[in-house]
């Protein structure tokens, strides 16, 4: 077990070194493939070992003095990197956000209370679940990225081809994520946290355009701000828990109602908000869209943002019923609603995806904030479904953009007919995001129910209204995908490896919908039992099985009827355009007797729901709320 854990964390770092050194594309691509597969296998081995040990929580690495030194060095390295970068781009103040926490932590290790010897790695259901998500989806994204980046640099010759750099970052990212979810020591967590922040910063700035640099620095300072909060939280913990740096220990004392645990929990939760791109900090995720698609997929679905969610899920029992919990659930609920409203006004496909990510993360954050077993059940399923469907959608968006040279939703009219493979994948992904029998909706439902049980009025209202807006912008998009068209099919230039990744994602999505009840019974319930001591499914199993039946019935029955009805001869008519249809359904005869093309566009309500109009007020509201709540939480303890 020791071996496989250290392999999972170190191997991606080694591969990233290789990626940087090898400048021959073919060789590097081959190594990337092999390493991605090896990572997936390693995760498989980890799961197997852990499961054959009876699925109990395992603690490892108690003696780690030399590793701790490496970690300290790494933190200094990151600090220097950030400082250099921020001075280079004339944003020196950003470096402060890195220098301060690093020095504070160094001081802590030099002069602080002597640290208790305790295990640094903790493997339980939650960590294993995260490992599976990161390994599987992250690995697939790497496979996809090989093909995608080839096409990307083919089309965007204006950008310097730095694929070696790109793949290096991807693998560092994966390694850091594994380290992050497997660590129990908050000092370790802090390092991996900083690494992911830096990686996202470098990935967003990959194209080196002004916009990219601007956005990358926004991402950097927001994440580093979270890092500061995390560092302060860690120092508090070190003093009050007398050198015990275990996250589990902190959570346990938080659950037992220890007063001093409140501050570190609140600060770490605050840090998680920045990582999970919640409302006052949502902008960095929007800016991250300028990066090449695999990195946005990686940032959005599999890793980065899920890191914040993961921490909040861990802290959930400690936050349940506290002021911190209230703060987190309000911010989450508000973000869920506000981001889904703003998504309505977007026509850039990737931006819609980004807003929907923020919005769904908001729901997960809210679930964690309420912190009961029921909401956590909902949150975990949301996370699983969201990881797969978003990763599918982002990769698909990239592939569509490569083929169609546009990612505007308005240009996707009849995509199912023009680019059949990608169109259908996109349809599946979107259906998974919100349509009734699929997973996301079940989670939303149980979240709603749990929120009512908790008496959390604001959250209930946010979820009710947010579901409606979510339905609106997705259906709008799907309408475009399926509307019939007479325009020419587009040449599908998607690479084979991209298709492999997409197919696996789509298959996973469908499989997950079908085995949903089994997964709940055999994995998520034990996971919750591990955290809370006891847990029951929020929704009765009967309901879950009915849902599975519904999925099958809704699609199979009409299909059979349709096949039968196809025998009845149907007369195809022209669409109704007051009798002036030219005969193609796509054009009409105008007043001068000339042919005019007919275009149909969706509603976006830019003046009503636009980002420009809503973003600033939302940020102000959440910032003020966040400050007030933090002051109350911390003041309540210190007073």
């Amino acid at each position: 077990m020791d071996l496989i854990v250290s392999f999972l964390i170190c191997f991606p770092f080694l591969v990233s070194l290789l990626m940087y050194c090898i400048r021959v594309n073919k060789v590097r691509n081959a190594i990337a493939y092999v390493s991605a597969v090896i990572i997936m296998i390693a995760v498989g081995v980890l799961v197997y070992n852990w499961a054959s040990g009876g699925c109990v929580a395992i603690q490892l690495f108690t003696e780690t003095e030399s590793v701790d030194k490496v970690i300290l060095v790494a933190e200094w390295f990151i600090m220097i990197l950030v400082t250099v970068k921020s001075f280079m781009h004339k944003r020196a103040w950003v470096s402060l956000l890195s220098i301060v926490p690093t020095i504070m932590l160094t001081m802590l290790e030099m002069n602080g209370p002597s640290l208790v010897e305790q295990p640094h790695v903790y493997i339980d259901h939650m960590a294993v679940l995260m490992c599976i998500i990161i390994g599987l989806i992250g690995g697939l994204i790497v496979i996809y990225a090989v093909g995608y980046m080839h096409g990307y640099h083919h089309h965007h010759i204006e950008f310097e081809d730095r694929r070696y750099y790109f793949f290096m970052l991807l693998f560092i990212f994966l390694g850091a994520m594994f380290g992050f979810v497997l660590s129990d020591s908050t000092l370790w967590i802090d390092l991996f946290w900083e690494i992911t922040s830096i990686c996202s910063f470098l990935l967003i700035g990959y194209t080196k355009t002004d916009e990219a640099i601007e956005n990358s620095f926004r991402a950097l300072w927001m994440n580093l701000l979270g890092g500061c909060a995390l560092a302060i939280g860690i120092i508090y913990q070190a003093y009050f828990l007398e050198g015990n740096m275990s996250l589990q220990a902190l959570i346990d004392s938080g659950v037992s109602g220890a007063k001093y645990a409140t501050i570190p929990v609140a600060l770490i939760a605050f840090a998680a908000l920045t990582k999970a791109a919640q409302m006052p900090f949502a902008k960095w995720l929007m800016g991250a869209m300028v990066a090449p698609t695999p990195s946005s997929a990686l940032l959005h679905s599999a890793t980065m943002v899920k890191a914040g969610i993961y921490v909040l899920f861990r802290l959930a029992p400690a936050m349940s019923g506290t002021m911190t919990g209230l703060m987190i659930s309000f911010i989450g609920g508000f973000t869920f609603f506000a981001a889904s409203v703003m998504a309505i006004a977007q026509s850039d496909g990737k931006k819609v995806l980004a807003f929907s990510t923020i919005s769904n993360l908001g729901l997960m954050v809210a679930c964690a904030g309420v912190g009961t077993p029921e909401t956590l059940w909902a949150g975990i399923f949301l996370m699983i479904f969201h990881a797969i469907s978003k990763s599918l959608l982002f990769q698909n968006m990239g592939a569509v953009e490569n083929s169609m040279h546009s990612r505007d939703v308005e240009d996707m009219d009849g995509l199912v007919y023009r680019l059949p493979r990608l169109g259908v994948f996109m349809f599946i992904g979107i259906a998974g995001m919100f349509l009734a029998p699929f997973g996301m909706l079940i989670s939303k439902w149980s979240a709603l129910r749990a929120a009512v049980d908790e008496g959390n009025f604001m959250l209930v209202v946010f979820i009710c209204f947010g579901s409606a807006t979510t339905l609106f912008y997705w259906t709008k998009w799907m309408n475009n995908l399926i509307s019939s068209t007479t325009s020419e099919p587009i040449k599908d230039i998607t690479k084979k490896n991209e298709i492999i990744s997409l197919t696996i994602h789509a298959a996973l999505m469908i499989a997950l919908c079908l085995i949903f009840p089994v997964l709940s019974q055999n994995y998520v319930i034990p996971l919750l039992t591990e955290i809370y001591g006891s847990a029951t499914s929020v929704l009765p199993m009967g309901v879950l099985y009915i849902l599975v039946i519904v999925i099958v019935a809704i699609f199979v029955v009409p299909f059979i009827v349709f096949k039968y009805a196809n025998k009845i001869r149907t007369n195809e008519k022209l669409s109704y355009m007051n009798g002036i249809n030219t005969g193609t359904n796509d054009a009409f005869v105008d007043a001068f007797g000339e042919e005019k093309p007919m275009t149909i566009s969706n509603w976006y309500f830019k003046d009503f729901f636009g980002q420009r109009k809503l973003m600033v007020p939302c940020e102000v509201v959440t910032t003020v709320f966040l400050i007030i709540m933090l002051v109350r939480v911390i003041g309540g303890v210190l007073a």
Partner: protein
Amino acid sequence: MIDILIRVIIFLVAAPILGGLLDGLDRIISARMQGRIGPPLLQPFYDVSKLFQKQTIAVSKSQSLLIQMFFFTQIFTGCLFMAGFDIMLCFFILSTGATFLVFAGAVTHSPYSSMGASRELLQMLSYEPAILMTCLGFYLAAGTFKVEELVLSDYSLIVYLPGFFVAYVFSLTIKMRKSPFDLSTSHHPHQELVKGITTEIGSRNLAFYFITEWYENIFLLGVVALFIINKNPWSILAAVIVVLLICFLETLIDNTSARMKWDKMLTLTWIVTLVSAGTNLLVLMLIK
């Protein structure tokens, strides 16, 4: 198990008949309000039977499939309701069905029906919060989502849920496509949007659409009855009376108001939902 089956079968048979009769009644009452005699009571059935006999037409083939899906999901919703399952589940599946209708409108890529589909979506955006909150209201008042347990409560649930009732009836006006909220399509022909979302739906498909609408209306009115019914058998009579009153109210509103603009509809519905259902929810949360 057997009694569930019987209830479902009764629903399958009786709902379209009742729905059609209510539709006919609505047309007669509308006509009387306008000083006309109006069509015979069975007119909706004549219409549907004629539509089935006409030549099958479609603008795009997938239209039939989507209408079929709409048809099955809405019937399935009603069956679940009758079988006493989760009310929330019913509404989720109902909105999936409504999504299929939107698809059926959009798939043709024709100006009127696409516009109708967009407006239908906008209507969903308006009424969805009210409907979700109504389900939660039931849960808070009776402690269960299950329809079979909701009907056995001690008091009529409307006692706890007056605000939710108002919000629900308000969104019912949208759901039943009554003016002033008949943006996407209306029962009154000849208007600026032609027949809105149903413009490209003709003959057989239109017949399916009508039958689906009857099933849907009966389900929606069933939820109105759910507010009234309690363990006292006489409450069923009261529920029937309330349902008929609501139907009359909808017809009255339909005939006395002009169509609203979309932004008015959205803000109005959301405000009503927030004020009446929201206040009610808050009060319930405090006293429970």
